[in-house]
């Protein structure tokens, strides 16, 4: 990943450890969009995403001294992002008494979904609703695999679970999404 950049992440991190603000800005700009994307898809609320992204970067800058440069920064950042977003989502749900469940739910869909005109906004809304209906761990595993194209092994490391558990998360997510989006009762 670093090959496309003139200065590697590791070199920037060494400079950041010495207090170099410009290096921090450079690293931040390099990865902020990916962090935002993951947070957005896990937290699923536009009003909360900015705070979640900020929390991720706070953790990154606070703990950058712990990062060992022989490991991949992107993988470390994925772990920090996913876990922070999961924690943030759970806290927010508890605090806000958000309507919804962290468990998988069987969703009864419309009788004739094909009759609806699926415009972009409507699809977005349904996908968001579908993602809301799966547990946050399942959602995270699915997002990292499908949207971020991370290998199963890396997702397992990120979430601190086995590869088998990640496969189960993804399978259940797909089934739940299909139930919601394709109008079938599978679960």
């Amino acid at each position: 990943m670093n090959r496309q950049y003139p200065v590697s992440d590791e070199a920037l991190i060494k400079a950041i450890k010495k207090g170099d603000r410009n290096a921090a800005a450079w690293l931040y700009n390099r990865h902020v969009d990916r962090v935002h994307r993951i947070c957005y898809r896990i937290v699923l609320d536009t009003s909360q995403v900015q705070d979640c992204v900020q929390e991720v970067w706070l953790k990154v800058f606070r703990n950058i001294d712990r990062f060992q440069c022989n490991k991949s920064f992107a993988a470390w950042l994925n772990t920090v992002t996913a876990n922070t977003a999961i924690d943030y989502y759970r806290k927010w749900i508890r605090h806000d008494n958000h309507v919804g469940s962290d468990e998988i739910r069987t969703v009864v869909t419309d009788a004739n979904p094909g009759e609806r005109k699926l415009d972009g906004a409507f699809i977005q809304k349904r996908i968001r609703e579908a993602l809301e209906n799966i547990s946050v761990n399942q959602r995270t595993a699915f997002i990292l695999r499908y949207f971020e194209d991370l290998p199963i092994a890396e997702i397992a490391e990120t979430l601190g679970c086995s590869e088998g558990a990640v496969r189960t998360h993804i399978r259940r997510s797909l089934l739940a999404l299909r139930t919601k989006l394709a109008g079938k009762l599978i679960l």
Binding site: V32, R62, K184
Partner: protein, 166 residues
């Protein structure tokens, strides 16, 4: 398709069923492909960076260096061993002996009671080397009477008790 097979291999009995299900999932994935994430504006990005950077710890560098130094497992382990050894040596050493040695080294101690003053210590030991644990007791009598001086001690490892009026 391969990943789909891997995920659902035990779920479908025939290849046809698997293929049919895969096609139904394809429509879901196509819908997912249409999802977009609204981008952060430059000002939002700048604000997040500013806050995050300001929120990092501001300790002086030498504290961080020390913390980082002791965070290494090998160093922490070695430090634990060293502290453990020091602690055990303190706990297991005979502290009473040390106290006794210290008191034995005192040149002269004087114990005062109402009717007597007792002198003992290194000076008395050296003055009467033939006696064991010698001490001089000054007994006070009536105001008009002369005080009586006596040397108390033992001989032959405590076999003989000696009282010598001086």
């Amino acid at each position: 398709m391969e990943e789909f097979k891997e995920l659902f291999q035990d779920r479908f009995e025939s290849q046809d069923e698997l293929l049919r299900e895969y096609k139904s999932f394809l429509s879901v994935l196509e819908q997912l492909d249409q999802t977009t994430v609204p981008e952060l504006s430059s000002s939002q990005k700048a604000k997040i960076f500013k806050r995050s950077w300001q929120g990092r710890p501001q300790e002086s560098s030498w504290i961080l260096t020390w913390l980082y130094f002791f965070r290494k497992p090998a160093v922490a382990f070695a430090l634990g061993i060293a502290i453990g050894c020091i602690f055990m040596s303190v706990v297991t050493s005979d502290r009473l002996d040390l106290v006794e040695t210290a008191s034995a080294d005192q040149l002269l101690t004087v114990e005062n009671t109402r009717y007597a003053q007792t002198y003992k210590g290194k000076i008395i030991d050296e003055f009467y080397p033939e006696f064991e644990n010698p001490k001089i007791v000054l007994e006070k009598g009536e105001d008009s009477a002369q005080p009586q001086r006596a040397l108390y001690g033992t001989l032959d490892n405590g076999e003989i008790y000696v009282v010598w009026n001086l």
